[in-house]
Amino acid sequence: MNALKDAATVNEDDANLLVLIIDTNPLIWTRLAKSTGLSLKEALQHLMVFINAHLALKHDNEVAVIASHVDVRLSEDTDQTINSNMYQRFKVVNDQVINNMKELFEDLSKLNSYPEKASSMIAGALSMSLCYINRIMRADEIGHIKPRIFITSVSPDSPYQYISIMNCIFSAQKLGIPIDVCKVHGEDAVFLQQAAHITGGRYLKLPIPQGFLQFLMITFLPDRFTRNYQCLPGEEKVDFGAACFCHKRIIDIGYVCSVCLSTSVNEGGLRVVNGIKKLDKSKGRESGGST
């Protein structure tokens, strides 16, 4: 698990591609607006300022926005709006993001049919952003564009997405793409904490949700080159402990099945895990996950 050492690969004049994943889980945002006063609308206003600031930093900076909704996502691909006029460009980007967001929320009929504990499709959004970055990087033969992913997360971890999120993290690590995470509200998202740690990004849990913009501008705006010279806030310590599949307890020493890699507390767990394995191999493991 080596964190990325960026210093050698990143240059001062490199263009930056920011893929912004906004968690728009409506259930959580409604709750958040009631408890802390930060509504999705306000958060989006903050994010707009952030996006514009990113575009203003360098003329060839680019941004793509992906909404990670409860079951639909859309991607607003704004890199085609090449315009010599900076302000024009802000407008195009803002309009596009706002219009697509509106479309997403207009479909209210669906909203009531969501299950109570529905989670945001972070794994899908991450896979999509990696594909998009892959496309941009392939087109950019001289390696001028340096991508990074920034997730604003409000939803809790979904254990069902564990394997797919981990797959995304490892591919991002392989491609050298840092994943930054801003946890706006709620419990620490352990999967995303690992994502930031493994890929060499920053993980920050907002102490005051109202100060969203402040944290965006200070912590998440600096590009990959500038970061080598800055000491940014965020937690260093990440827990990589494993949870056993039988009791969901965090364990220090455990028994790991040599075939399916499921973990159990003691040798008696063999029967439990193997029982699941015989019934439904994939479900037995997916519901496990680790913390």
Binding site: S127, C131, R135, N167, K237, G241, S258, L261, T263, R285
Partner: protein, 413 residues
């Protein structure tokens, strides 16, 4: 030992008289001839007089789409592998650029890194063979850097005399028979020489390898050798002879995904492992692995000694120490995603105009039908589970790197 000469690229600049005879007797011709067979016939202009579409189409066909076995099969996730590198004088040949030896060493390094990336809780050791004897330059270890350091050491990599296949196999076997039965036992040989200098009957060694369930794979750099072929066949390994530099890498990297194992070969077992917690002290303390003062590290869950890096075996109590992401790294081998199917042109009336994941526009059907050049592929590939369409780049990327289908993960099923 019987040898069977396989045709290979000649490096001589001049045309040999033998050339003609060789091409006549073997119908296939040279590898480079195959690739450029009448390529001008395919090239045609479209209605605008541009070649862009035809060129794109050619590139698309060249790009290989790997079709993988997507059934849930048992794989040997915990592997124990010996990498045997031939350091005989035959390795000094320059038919592979810059030389067989230099290329082998640089590919071996990449192989080791990729091997540990995809098989994080596996182990690897390196044996070199030269001058008729075999020498172990690194022990079975879970740390890629130990192996690479051994390879980088110039003392370990000078060439001499003939290799000894039997000596190196016996040396690997003597360690592999002590490996617990839940792990796979494998040997990978990179062989540049066509001959070997053995002290006894190599057929006995092969029979022993078969009895011990040790899988032997060989990558030959010169020509096909019968004894290697026989050995790989008997031990259910793979045997390949390289055609060129890129093919060498392909052959080597084919060994990296964990191989399927039969249910009878090894039983499911529970392996005891420790999940150490990370520490960062304010003042440096000695680590148990290198006896050097370090600030951060991990504390062994059983004996509380400090180690530098994961995954490893605790140097004090020999407990296998991993962290949960290491286990997660292997999951994609256990749950492969389905292959995408190519979408034919005729059912494209309602299909999306952009690739689902990267938003690149697809070539439009109407534009092509009106054109002079019929394009065989539509450039769309569909996931049968979520019915989304993807471009070829995303298809390859999704299956080779991410191992997630963006479409399936985008909606609740």
């Amino acid at each position: 030992m019987s040898k069977q000469h396989k045709q290979k690229n000649l490096t001589e600049e001049f045309i040999d008289v033998d050339d003609e005879i060789q091409t006549n007797t073997q119908q296939t011709g040279y590898a480079w001839e195959e690739e450029y067979k009448r390529s001008w016939d395919v090239l045609q202009e479209d209605e605008d007089g541009s070649l862009k579409r035809t060129v794109e189409n050619l590139q698309q066909r060249k790009r290989k789409r790997l079709f993988r076995d997507t059934a849930t099969i048992r794989r040997g996730i915990i592997r124990h592998m010996f990498l045997i590198i031939d350091l005989s004088e035959a390795m000094m040949e320059k038919d592979l650029r810059p030389s067989r030896l230099d290329l082998t060493l640089s590919y071996a390094e990449q192989f080791i890194l990729e091997y540990f990336d995809q098989n994080p809780i596996s182990q690897l050791a390196i044996i070199v063979t030269k001058g008729g004897y075999a020498e172990k330059i690194s022990d079975l270890t879970g740390n890629p850097m130990d192996n690479i350091r051994a390879l980088k050491n110039k003392k370990n990599t000078d060439t001499d005399g003939e290799p000894s296949l039997q000596n190196s196999l016996e040396m690997a076997r003597s360690t592999l028979i002590h490996v617990p039965s839940h792990g796979s036992r494998e040997i990978l040989i990179i062989m540049g020489s066509l001959t070997t200098c053995d002290p006894g009957d190599i057929y006995d060694t092969i029979d022993n390898l078969v009895n011990e369930n040790i899988r032997v794979s060989v990558v030959g750099l010169a020509a096909e050798v019968q004894i290697c072929k026989l050995m790989c066949k008997k031990t259910k390994g793979t045997y390949g002879v390289v055609l060129n530099e890129a093919h060498f890498k392909d052959l080597l990297f084919e060994i990296i995904p964990p191989p399927p194992v039969s249910n009878t070969q090894n039983k499911a077992e529970l392996v005891i492992m420790g999940f150490p917690s990370s520490v960062s002290d304010s003042s440096p303390s000695l680590c148990a692995c290198h006896s050097k003062p370090t600030i951060g590290g991990y504390i062994c869950a059983r004996c509380h000694s400090k180690i530098c890096d994961l995954p490893t075996d605790c140097p004090v109590c020999e407990l296998t120490l991993v962290s949960s992401p290491h286990l997660a790294r292997s999951y994609h081998h256990l749950f492969p995603i389905n292959n995408f199917v190519e979408v034919p042109w005729n059912n494209n009336s309602v299909s999306p105009t952009h690739c689902f994941s990267c938003q690149i526009p697809f070539p439009s059907f109407l534009g092509v039908r009106g054109g002079a050049v019929p394009i065989e592929t539509s450039g769309r590939y569909k996931c049968n589970r979520c019915q989304q369409h993807f471009c070829i780049d995303c298809d390859v990327f999704v299956h080779e790197v991410i191992h997630n289908c963006p479409g399936c993960l985008a909606a609740i099923h």
